[in-house]
Amino acid sequence: MAVRGVQSVVEPSALGPVAELYEKSRGPEFGLTLEAFEGMLQEVCGKYLSVETPATARRAFLASLRVEELVLARACAAGHERAWEVFLTRFREKLYDIAGYIAKEASSARELADSLYADLYGTTMRDGKRISKLASYTGRGSLEGWLRTVLAQEYVNRYRRQRRLVSLDQKSEEGVQFAAAVPEPVAEVDPRVEAATDEALAELPSEDRFVLASYYLDSRTLAEIARILRVHESTISRKLDKLAKSLRKRILAGLRRRGMSRQQAQEALEVDVRDLRVNLRSRLVQETAHPPFSKKKAEARAGEGHD
């Protein structure tokens, strides 16, 4: 998904009740002028809205921003001491708590939180200016939620990739045998099945595909998915059940539209992709093995034709 928001300029008059938002943001406490605040809002609008966005939508968008936290974050990014006092009072403990919750391990959590603090404070200099991560906060969500997401992303980038590296020594000690890579069984999968499946998946709402991916690819529990979507666990359970049934029906219908008979479609759908890999391996290992049933029929038809 491309990040919406070409750098478009929004007319100041279109920003609506900026003064009201300015007062709400407590900008004067951190030395932020109304003009600077307006410029900040323009920047945020330019990032997420297009020039064609109607004024009412633009006003609603501005009203939804967390302006007070936005100003606080930007003041911190600018190095305002008072802003940092407020920020540390509010978020210092929470940051370590969040890191602890994400990393699950005390030392990793502390390292994660300390690293983020450095990024938030802006230890990196560019062109003589301090670069703070807080400058990228735009107020769409709460500042605490944003910090949580930043920590989560940092964690994913750092530690999960480290864990994916397999220690060869460790594996050989455990007796794991490294096998040759199995060739992709692309040739064995009927392209009509793939096309019908892709078509059925494309028809699903994005939320349904997210649920399927979370459950079947990420192995998330129903409770975890329900928390993300803010629904009850039973809703996810029923949705998955319903999706499994409806996808099967749609794929079968798609296969029928592509010229398969009902039985062929059902057989094609029941073929396990992993079974296809096994069949291919067995064919490679045993050249005298009997060909699959479908191949037999093809050969039989070919024989009849020759005769």
Partner: protein, 382 residues
């Protein structure tokens, strides 16, 4: 759960799409459910294909995401939620029928005679707490006599808690004067519920609405049979979902051994309100265990940052030393200006803690601590 065809799982993985990831603001706003539907769908569209972003979303969830969107009736199986309501309705009908069959209206004077025969201490407790509308039947009177002659530790323990609860009772409840004289049936039921609730795991709020005056009979009746049958031990009230405003609760035996009929409870019992402050400083209240929330206006322009709730007492503090107190769950507010030795609190209040209605502590952004021992009448700065 029906099996998903394996080919679907394979195609679900698909090829990695060359898409820009949504920025962290969008992801955090998605997690907080504060995006427009269109933006939300766009984020979901990306998440459906990006395992890394799904991982970030999962890790970004707060530890306790207890806000659940009100579940709309699922298209596939509407019977599930209705089943709960059906059973609730059935249970309510059974309770009403059972009460109609077993309840006997007793004269109020006979019961007062029984109370008068009790020890002064128990009598004082019962007068302020339990006042049935009708006299007991002879057999129930015996049960009451037997039980009431056994003042227990839990009764005393209840007393203290009951006092706090009574103090925290809403304006609708009996006034202190009313507690000394014969209280109205409505306030009686309220107070009784509060006290009885204290004996066990209280789920009945002190903010329970008093019964309507007209419902004199069932409100305060005792169940003679139940008083004999039920053991003299505290049980937990189980307030079940309201059906048409009717609440059910299994009868509880208080330390005094008086069982309360199911229908003796007010038609509507509210749970203790839950409170929260949104990120922009708006105070919100839930009266249904967090299922739905309503904004409670506080007469201040200050941004609220901290709150403390104790029964119906709610304290909120915010920027510029703003401190407000309500003793009726947010219906009316009083501004409190903490002052100590001539100095007025003007710093941002970032922490409010009240262990009981009298004792409270404020923390400010300037690392000050202000303490009160008299519900905010006077303060000490530490």
């Amino acid at each position: 759960m029906a099996d998903l065809p394996k080919i679907v799982i394979q195609r679900l993985q698909g090829k990695a799409r060359d898409q820009a990831h949504p920025d962290l603001d969008l992801i955090s706003a998605f997690v907080e459910n504060s995006l427009t539907q269109r933006d939300r769908n766009q984020v979901l569209e990306h998440l459906a294909h990006c395992s890394d972003c799904r991982e970030v979303v999962a890790l970004s969830l707060p530890e306790q995401a207890d806000v659940v969107r009100a579940e709309t009736q699922p298209a596939g199986s509407p019977w599930l939620s209705w089943r709960v309501l059906r059973w609730g309705t059935l249970a309510a009908c059974v309770a009403v029928v059972g009460a109609a069959v077993t309840i006997r209206y007793e004269s109020r004077s006979k019961f007062r005679q029984l109370i008068a025969a009790q020890s002064p201490e128990v009598q004082r407790m019962n007068e302020t707490v339990i006042q049935p509308a009708s006299p007991l039947k002879p057999d129930s009177a015996k049960a009451a006599n037997r039980v009431s002659s056994q003042p227990s530790v839990s009764t005393e323990g209840v007393g203290t808690a009951a006092k706090m609860r009574l103090k925290a009772a809403p304006s609708k409840a009996a006034t202190p004067q009313a507690a000394d004289r014969e209280p109205s049936e409505a306030s009686t039921a309220l107070q009784r519920k509060s006290v009885l609730a204290e004996t066990g795991t209280a789920e009945v709020s002190a903010g329970a609405e008093p019964a309507p005056q007209a419902a004199s009979g069932p409100m305060d009746e005792l169940v003679p049979g139940r008083a004999k049958d039920m053991p003299l031990e505290s049980q937990t009230y189980k307030a079940q979902a309201a059906v048409g405003g009717a609440m059910l609760a299994q009868p509880t035996m208080s330390a005094s051994g008086l069982a309360v009929n199911k229908t003796a409870l007010v038609p509507t019992i509210k749970l203790l309100p839950r409170w929260t402050l949104t990120s922009d400083g708006t105070l919100q209240r839930s009266l249904d265990s967090g299922n739905t929330w309503e904004t409670i206006p506080v007469p201040t322009q200050a941004i609220l940052r901290a709150l403390a709730a104790n029964g119906l007492h709610i304290w909120v503090g915010g920027s510029g030393g703003a401190l407000y107190h309500s003793s009726d769950a947010g219906q009316h507010w009083t501004q409190v200006r903490p002052t100590a030795n001539g100095e007025v609190l003007t710093a941002d209040i970032i922490g409010v803690e009240f262990t009981d209605p009298q004792h409270g502590t404020l923390s400010t952004s300037t690392k000050e601590t202000w303490v009160t021992d008299d519900s905010g009448q006077s303060w000490q700065k530490k």
